[in-house]
């Protein structure tokens, strides 16, 4: 599900195709599109599991407010995938529970 034709932004959205991995599985994405858009296009709906009951959450508000679509991106937890642009070779992981901070050197 990608918006390729838009009444204001114009028709065909032109962007380079890149590769990203989601929980180790490689998928195709467009450079600069929101991560969540690439996930939906690949049929992936679950972004994270809740802390207490481990229930699935996915794209909800789509504008960076609700934090339901948070995932771990390149090791960094709590990234709102609906507003984070895709980059080549991004490593995206389903976030289980609360974000774990890794030590920065």
């Amino acid at each position: 599900m990608r918006v390729l034709s838009h009444p204001i932004l114009g028709d065909s959205y032109q962007s380079d195709k890149v590769k990203i991995t989601v929980d180790g599985v490689e998928i195709e994405a467009l450079q600069g599109e929101p991560i969540a858009a690439a996930l939906l296009a690949a049929g992936i709906c679950i972004c994270r599991l809740t802390h207490k009951h481990k229930q699935p959450r996915g794209l909800f508000c789509g504008i960076g407010l609700c934090t339901d679509c948070m995932m771990t991106v390149n090791g960094k937890p709590n990234v709102r995938t609906c507003i984070e642009p895709v980059d080549n070779n991004m490593r995206i992981e389903t976030q289980v529970g609360l974000g774990v901070i890794k030590r920065s050197e």
Binding site: H51, I101, R103
Partner: protein, 397 residues
């Protein structure tokens, strides 16, 4: 609904102190009424770093009270109906300069002698061992296993609920308009919702205690000390211990200077860190004297963030979800004002705890109860040391 009843004691202020005083008096069989103009824990008791911190308490009265309180919190499940989330996780005071170490050595020694037997200075390598997330800038720290954290809102609500079970009456959204005094004796109060007659009034109004004092022509030297704090998104357990910067001790003297200069929201921040049970980090903080202005400011939040990153660079990408400020009731000697007031029978002070209201709440409640019920306290120290009369500015007409 108009209020009209009689009580043994009226407590003004529904924060940790007021709720604790109400609880201990009600448990002792007294008829207590608590008056709060907003909601319970709507002041500094509901807006702080959730510390139950003993290290910085002064040897003597304040330290004995702090130790007494944390003992109560440790066994609170016997007495209080709500889990107050008290955890004795240990507390670190982070030291970043050699100068601070030298200043803190004698400071730590006096506290070791005064009862904090396990307080000690640990060096950089030991610190890295127990808290690997703390940065290289930190050359040493003081460590006190007695320090901990607590949910201050739950503490207030727990005291209030328990007090109600013992028959206490709590009126929220009720404002005290007048305190009735006849022949230098307290007779009761008049609120916007009615009248309560009582021979005792306890002033537990925190930063607003001077307003209550004015009602009986008392000058109470308590001023609002604004502290700004940051709340982050919830994280998996990060650093369990509570932490503060050594600046809170080594730069203590500058506070009075700041008041005289009339400052300001451009002050440097010093580190405050705790992680709540839910995982959010509470980070601070600044010390500002700007009157009753509860805004948070960009400058302060910015310098707090920088201070946090200096010690914990791993938090660089962590999102801030809220900021808030509070008014700690500040006294110039950093001690609370407790006990009877000369020349005004029945008026009891229980305010001015500055940042230590939570760790002093239980013992303050107990002491005020003992003063009212037995006329003396079980402290090993003289409670009169903490009387209002230690400030010579007091005018009583």
């Amino acid at each position: 609904m108009m209020i009209k009843h009689e009580a043994d004691v009226v407590v003004i202020g529904g924060g940790a102190i007021g709720a604790a005083v109400t609880f201990f008096l009600a448990r002792e069989g007294k008829k207590v009424t608590l008056i709060e103009c907003n909601e319970l824990a709507s002041g500094a008791s509901g807006a702080n770093a959730a510390f139950a911190w003993t290290t910085t308490r002064k040897p003597g009265n304040p330290m004995e009270m702090a130790l007494d309180s944390i003992e109560f919190y440790n066994n609170a499940f016997n007495e209080l109906p709500i889990d107050i989330e008290y955890k004795r996780c240990g507390g670190l005071m982070l030291i970043s300069t050699e100068e601070q170490i030298e200043l803190l050595k004698p400071w730590v020694e006096t506290r070791q002698k005064a009862g904090l037997t396990e307080l000690r200075i640990i060096d950089h390598s030991e610190l890295c061992q127990i808290e690997p997330f703390v940065a290289e800038q930190c050359i040493a720290a003081t460590y006190n296993p007695l320090d901990g954290r607590i949910n201050p809102m739950f503490l207030v609500l727990a005291f209030a609920d328990a007090a109600k079970k013992y028959g206490a009456i709590i009126h929220e959204h009720t404002r005290v308009e007048k305190i009735i005094v006849k022949k230098n004796e307290i007779r009761g109060i008049i609120t916007d919702k009615g009248e309560i007659s009582a021979p005792y009034v306890v002033n537990a109004a925190g930063a607003y205690a001077s307003e209550v004092g004015e009602m009986v022509n008392l000058q109470v030297p308590i001023i609002p000390n604004r502290m700004q704090l940051i709340v982050t998104e919830p994280l998996a357990p990060f650093i369990d211990r509570v932490m503060m910067g050594a600046e809170y001790v080594t730069a203590e003297d500058t506070k009075v200077e700041k008041i005289e200069r009339g400052i300001s929201d451009k002050e440097d921040a010093a580190l405050i860190y705790s992680q709540t049970e839910k995982g959010n980090l509470i980070l601070g903080s600044t010390t500002e004297f700007v009157g009753f202005n509860k805004c948070t400011t960009y400058n302060s939040i910015h310098s707090i963030s920088n201070e946090i990153i200096k010690f914990m660079p791993s938090l660089y990408d962590t999102n801030i979800i809220r900021t808030f400020a509070n008014f700690f009731p500040f006294t110039t000697d950093d001690d609370p004002i407790l006990g009877n007031v000369e020349g005004l029978k029945g008026f009891i002070m229980a305010a001015g705890h500055n940042g230590h209201g939570i760790v002093h709440a239980a013992s303050t409640g107990k002491i005020i109860m003992e003063l009212i019920v037995y006329g003396e306290t079980s402290l090993n120290f003289d409670i009169n040391e903490l009387n209002l009369s230690r400030f010579d500015k007091v005018v009583n007409t």
